[in-house]
């Protein structure tokens, strides 16, 4: 029962042992730190890059062109905004060269609020990412999906962006979210793969569990909770929050279906449509700022295609359109969706009389 950060690390380990991953790199990704969140601890191909995000993305593109399988990290997505042109190039190289060159790279980066990260460790990246054609975009909400999506990302022949929901990285898996081959309990796993703090670290070696490969197909959503009354379309950090809101609403007789998109591009339109056709009510939840937001794309498309099946106006719950997320708890709380807000939005949708 790994945490998400352990799941990612194990996937990268499987990647470098069996799937041809050659370079896992970024700022502080190699020894001694192994990543700001330990995602890359003790991986044999992990190395520290210069402090230069443009160089990191450029290096990843170049490695991919040369047939390597790089996984590049941007330490926080907040620091990827000077690389958008390069991300666009990664996304358009196959298209612009009419199939001559593809770019099989993975870029991973922590996103979102929830760790009191203030203005520059709280950004979301889903709106920006979904605006970058040629990329596949995934964002897990639990350790098992993180593992399976990372393996799929690694073997994908296209650039794949793996958005790590910061606030969930240390959350434990729930039953049913096991990674095939991992030891049953967290303590055992931690002893095996988490480096000790302090002196002994440099001599320590991990003992990797015998992991099986698990591929969560990119483009396939997961129904995190079934329900007949309202559909929540969400991903990442907002998934467990929405499920918990839904569980609490059950006592009020409201049954909420939570669709965890997992893939933001391509997204699982069939799953979305099927759920909305059943519930006729829909709430999109994400943390990114609410003007020109990916949830607005989903709503636009739902409205265009299912207008007469909607029994209430679809609603978006997203980040406030302000220049940053403030440090003080009051500020962060007022800036991104939380369970209470999700509950009241759901209640309103469910009770709405058409």
């Amino acid at each position: 029962m790994a945490t998400m950060i352990q799941a990612i690390r194990m996937a990268l380990h499987v990647g470098e042992e069996r799937l041809g991953v050659t370079d896992i790199f970024g700022e502080d990704v190699g020894p001694p730190l192994g990543g700001a969140f330990t995602a890359t601890q003790n991986l044999k191909t992990a190395w520290n890059s210069p402090l230069d995000e443009r160089g990191i993305v450029g290096m990843a593109i170049g490695l991919a062109l040369a047939g390597r399988r790089p996984v590049a990290e941007i330490q926080f997505c907040d620091y990827a905004f000077n690389t958008i042109d390069l991300l666009k190039i990664a996304g358009n190289t196959y298209w612009a060269s009419a199939g001559d060159w593809n770019v099989p790279m993975v870029m991973m980066t922590p996103v979102g609020a929830g760790i009191r990260g203030s203005i520059y460790h709280s950004h979301s990246f889903d709106a920006q990412a979904t605006r970058t054609p040629g990329w596949k975009i995934v964002m897990p909400s639990n350790p098992r999906d993180a593992y399976g999506l990372m393996l799929s990302a690694i073997i994908d022949p296209n650039p794949v962006m793996f958005l790590k929901p910061k606030a969930l990285l240390r959350a434990k898996a729930l039953p049913g979210e096991e990674i095939p081959g991992e030891p049953g309990d967290l303590k055992t796993l931690s002893k095996m793969i988490d480096a000790p703090v302090g002196e002994s670290r440099s001599r320590w070696k991990p003992e990797w569990p015998k992991l099986e490969e698990l591929y969560i197909p990119i483009g396939e959503a997961r129904t995190a909770r079934t329900g007949r009354d309202v559909t929540v379309l969400t991903y990442g950090r907002s998934v467990p929050m929405s499920v918990s809101a839904a569980d609490e609403l059950a006592s009020e007789g409201i049954e909420v279906e939570v669709i965890d998109l997992r893939s933001l591009h391509p997204y699982d339109w069939n799953a979305i449509k099927a759920s909305v056709r059943k519930t006729h009510r829909v709430l999109c939840v994400n943390e990114d700022t609410e003007v020109t937001n990916f949830g607005e794309h989903l709503i636009r498309r739902l409205v265009e295609e299912l207008f007469y099946e909607l029994h209430a106006a679809p609603k978006l719950l997203a980040g406030a359109h302000v220049p940053g997320i403030g440090l003080a708890d009051n500020l962060e709380h007022a800036s991104v969706p939380h369970k209470d807000g999700i509950k009241s939005a759901l209640r309103e949708l469910a009770r709405h009389e058409p």
Partner: protein, 352 residues
């Protein structure tokens, strides 16, 4: 930290400082004492901030213990004021020493640490050490590494255009010089016929978070990167107060008079690691500029150990008490997220 680099740079430093400031490398006694007091205040402030973090009175600490010998002289040498006639500062997050030397109230730093509504730098929005002081031309410190190097040429261009005697000072760390913005600063400041009055500083603590300098740089000295652009450069021991003072003085005089850029690298220590994210524990294998300077003051009989201990104890007590008061100050209100979006009115996406 590689001591070789430090030694190499020390020798450079004394060479450079002696030339333009006489054979004496010693500051006037009153100035030494003033610098010491400010260094001590800066150190005690950082300690208080770290303690606040540890006790849950703040969520994140980053700061400059180990840079006081360089940053305090910088703050004292600045032509402080508002507007284009004075110096502009584009600093990073290890600059408390500079701010205190300019006259900042340390209690305001505690407020930012505690993210109170009274925090004058960001009203509870930004991390500790993210100063902003328009009254003294201190541009807002922002977290993204190195962007200040792309912005600073703008204030220098304004100074050039208005014929002011003010200069622009920009500073940042060693690892960050890998960002293209550092090159942007060198390119834009040195254009022939359009040179800018910029003092370009790098405080080299030989680390970017966990990543050592070695292995990430092809250049022996970061300051060498200025040479191709025809600007004077120097690498000095930033752990030595007087070396720092004279090196800064020399560089600032050059920039102020010649209206051209100067690249100065200071070798400094990082006495509490990168930030609270790495524990903020004190390291023992790096030079402590404060104890080094205190030893000098003792030797020079300018201040006794007992006096210094007393000063430290008093400052520590004062900031402890201040931190208790700050704890009672109000937190920003949730709806204040909508304040200061626009300078004319708070109009956002059709709201209000």
């Amino acid at each position: 930290m590689s001591t070789t680099a430090q030694t190499a740079s020390s020798s450079l430093a004394s060479g450079s400082s002696s030339s333009s400031h006489g054979s004496e490398n010693q500051l006037a006694p009153e100035l030494q004492l003033r610098i010491h007091e400010l260094m001590l205040e800066a150190r005690v402030l950082e300690e208080r901030l770290i303690t606040m973090y540890r006790q849950g009175d703040g969520y994140f600490w980053i700061g400059g213990p180990g840079e006081e010998a360089f940053n305090v002289p910088l703050g004292l040498l600045v032509d402080k004021g508002t507007g284009v006639e004075h110096d502009y500062l584009h600093l990073h997050y290890r600059s408390s020493g500079t701010l205190l030397a300019m006259g900042a109230d340390p209690v305001d730093a505690l407020r930012q640490m505690k993210n109170t509504a009274t925090d004058p730098y960001s009203r509870g929005r930004n991390f500790a050490g993210h100063y902003s002081a328009r009254k003294w031309n201190v541009a807002p410190v922002s977290s993204p590494i190195e962007v200040q190097y792309s912005i600073a040429p703008g204030t220098a261009m304004a100074q050039r255009a208005t014929g002011s005697k003010g200069i622009t000072i920009v500073t940042g760390g060693d690892a960050g010089t890998a960002e293209g913005d550092f090159a942007t600063c060198l390119v834009w400041s040195s254009r022939k016929g359009s040179e800018l009055p910029m003092l370009i500083l790098v405080t080299n603590n030989q680390y970017g978070i966990s990543t050592p300098f070695e292995g990430q740089h092809g250049e022996e000295r970061i300051s060498d990167r200025g040479k191709a652009f025809g600007m004077p450069t120097a690498t000095v021991d930033g752990n030595d107060v007087e070396t720092s003072w004279f090196a800064l003085k020399k560089a600032m005089d050059y920039v102020r008079t010649e209206r051209k850029p100067y690249l100065l690298e200071a070798m400094v220590s990082r006495l509490n690691g990168h930030s609270s994210a790495s524990g903020a524990n004190s390291v023992t294998n790096e030079v402590d500029c404060l104890s080094r300077f205190e030893k000098k003051l003792e030797e020079r009989k300018l201040r006794t150990r007992a006096e210094m201990d007393e000063m430290r104890a008093r400052m520590t007590q004062e900031l402890l008490e201040a931190s208790k008061r700050v704890r009672e100050e109000p937190q920003p209100k949730p709806e204040s997220i909508w304040d200061y979006v626009f300078a004319d009115k708070n109009y956002v996406a059709g709201e209000k």
